[in-house]
């Protein structure tokens, strides 16, 4: 067989049945092999869209996402998506075609050093130089993408390798990566928890990625302490848990931020003290000792000193550090914060108030729906006002903050979980960043629901210009947006525009009752901002609110 056929064989051997990509000259032999393969290829309309679909597929399913691109511009178009997968620890294998080895290094047509370009945005990248190493390299790429802290791996395959004859190798089972877990500090952690008067659990995406949500619920039940989550950790805490305070950080709830600032023990579970979480670092949780549990040793003491660190498998560690606490007064205090600073939806006027609309969407959407966000104000409103029962149901570009993520990620999520409702919530700026993927939705008749929250602005940038740049609104006006409903109609996707609060309920009903893809265009007031907000350089207790 040819190397290209072997690529498909390895994908099948790895259990891959869904891939995303875009063909081109240097990857044509692999696309020729796809023609006869049972692996289903989804043609996207841009390589970045294809890779984001693979990321959405991976994040919604827990499987490895796979995307393909040709050399040169196809490969460079992957770079943003690889960076997104790296910063959000998403298992992704990207396969790129490369010009033949005979012309590599000669500035050949569509030749670019993608391996060099990928160094800073992948967990690892391989260049296959010998067809006899092709199968092993691909297997290694899958193993690496999933092992330890997951991430993107790129495999660059020159065209001559794809065309070279190779015999089907025996399929040695690669040993699963050993995950060393040390419980040496478990007793110390239990002691810190038992002695704490004001403990709080700070939960990131790593808990769900370790498949440790049941262990987390048990830990929170036994220790009975308040909890907060990061953007990626949302959905980790069971809805029934009364002590959950919401998201912390720049646009977190006031209760979450104030409780973290006041706590005496911060138990960081699968999170990394991101600057959007901590605000001014030296004022973050200033009274707290820190227990840090993670799979990645490089995260320990990277940003915040850990008084007690536990490395390895969260599933083993959480039961080992679980212990009862004596903090009834603290729980009462946190409940008071939660009540005092609860969300308010009594917005004056007839215009649609995005937080209320998203709350209505959250209440109306079927259970286990997947919501894929873009980046900006709407992303923070989704995090604040929608509830999720798993991080796999809330796909948001956290670390990289990539506009254009939502629509293609929704495509991948829908293909990963066809029985579940998938909703792409986007802004008018973000939506235009990968709008071409409407073509993918049309081609595969994917019943993705699209909600565009349109303030005719790059809203988050505009908000910062208003607050911190003396209202100099430089290049954030999008009042010449296209007619989004007409745009959807060009892709045979029905849609509807709403502008008033009293239209929301019936519009959501119409969207969910329509069997196919649907676009709901929601016009909001450009003056609406995201509150609360921790200003840049401020401590998390110094939140700005609408009334400041």
């Amino acid at each position: 067989m040819k190397g290209a056929e072997l690529v498909l064989k390895v994908l099948q051997q790895q259990g891959v049945d869904t891939i995303f990509g875009y063909p081109g000259g240097a990857i044509m032999p692999i696309y020729d092999a796809i023609y006869h393969s049972t692996v289903k290829h989804y043609l996207c309309r841009h390589e970045q869209g294809g890779a984001f679909s693979a990321i959405g597929y991976a994040r919604a399913s827990g499987k490895v996402g796979v995307c393909l691109a040709t050399s040169g511009p196809g490969a460079t178009n992957l770079i943003t998506s690889l960076a997104d997968a790296l910063l959000d620890s998403v298992p992704l294998v990207a396969i790129t075609g490369q010009v033949s080895q005979a012309v590599m290094g000669t500035d050949a047509f569509q030749e670019v050093d993608v391996l060099g370009l990928s160094l800073g945005v992948t967990k690892h990248s391989f260049m296959v130089r010998d067809v006899n190493e092709l199968a092993h390299t691909l297997q290694e790429a899958f193993r690496l993408a999933q092992s330890g802290r997951p991430g993107p791996v790129l495999v660059d395959i020159p065209k001559d390798i794809q065309l070279a004859e190779v015999s089907e190798p025996e399929w040695p089972t690669l040993p699963a990566a050993r995950l060393a877990t040390s419980l040496a500090n478990a007793a110390k952690a239990r002691q810190l928890i038992a002695q704490a008067k004001k403990p709080i659990a700070y939960i990131g995406g790593g808990v769900q990625m370790a498949d440790a949500l049941p262990q987390l619920q048990a830990f929170l039940a036994e220790s009975e302490m308040p909890s907060v989550t990061t953007l990626k950790g949302m959905g980790s805490v069971a809805r029934a848990n009364p002590h959950y305070l919401g998201m912390l950080g720049m646009h977190g709830t006031q209760a979450a931020n104030l409780a973290v600032q006041q706590c005496d023990l911060l138990i960081c579970l699968g999170a990394r003290f991101d600057d959007r979480v901590t605000g001014k670092l030296d004022k973050f949780a200033p009274h707290a000792k820190v227990i840090h549990v993670d799979i990645d040793p490089a995260e320990i003491n990277k940003v915040r000193f850990a008084d007690c660190a536990l490395l390895g498998d969260m599933k083993q560690i959480l039961p080992a550090i679980s212990t009862a606490t004596q903090c009834a007064d603290w729980l009462t205090h946190c409940q008071q914060l939660k009540q005092q600073y609860g969300w308010r939806y009594d917005h004056p006027g007839e215009r649609i108030f995005a937080p209320l609309m998203l709350k209505q969407l959250s209440e109306r959407m079927p259970d286990n729906s997947v919501v894929c966000c873009d980046v900006g104000q709407h992303q923070m409103w989704v995090a604040q006002h929608m509830r999720f029962n798993s991080p796999r149901n809330h796909l948001s570009s956290g670390g990289l903050g990539t506009m254009g993520f939502g629509l293609p990620a929704a495509i991948g999520a829908k293909l990963a979980r066809p029985q579940d409702t998938v909703i792409a919530v986007s802004g008018d700026g973000s939506f235009m960043m990968n709008v071409q993927e409407l073509g993918t939705i049309k081609r595969f008749r994917l019943p993705v629901k699209i909600v565009i929250i349109d303030n005719q602005r790059l809203g988050m940038v505009k908000q910062w210009q208003q607050l911190f740049f003396n209202e100099r609104y430089s290049e954030t006006d999008l009042s010449d947006n296209p007619d989004f409903v007409a745009l959807a109609a060009a892709f045979a996707i029905p849609g509807h525009t709403i502008t008033r609060k009293d239209e929301v309920a019936s519009a959501l009903e119409a969207m969910f009752s329509w069997p196919g893809p649907y676009l709901l265009h929601v016009r909001i007031d450009e003056k609406d901002n995201v509150w609360p907000l921790v200003p840049p350089g401020a401590a998390n207790e110094d939140m700005l609110t609408e009334t400041n």
Partner: protein, 84 residues
């Protein structure tokens, strides 16, 4: 403060670029670099000297994660084998 790292890696074409990319990105200044193929040519022995006021563990913890790095030792008064 200056630190010298003795690193054993696979003999892959991109390995030095990777080490230097991580070193630069994490904010450590390169102060010296030497590379020798091991006798079987399957690996490389790389000596990397860097300068920074940051704790060196913030760099070594990132370098040992690299796929091609097989062993990393800090050549100082307290030599620590970070990956066996």
């Amino acid at each position: 403060m200056q630190h010298t790292l003795n690193i054993t890696t696979r003999n892959e074409a991109s390995v030095v670029e990777r080490l230097l990319q991580v070193t630069r990105y994490r904010g450590y200044q390169l102060a010296g670099l030497a590379m020798t193929p091991l006798t079987d040519r399957a690996g490389l022995q790389i000596t990397l000297t860097v300068q920074s006021e940051k704790p060196i563990t913030l760099l070594t913890s990132q370098l040992v994660k690299l796929y091609d790095v097989q062993q990393l030792e800090l050549a100082s008064a307290d030599v620590a084998v970070l990956r066996a």
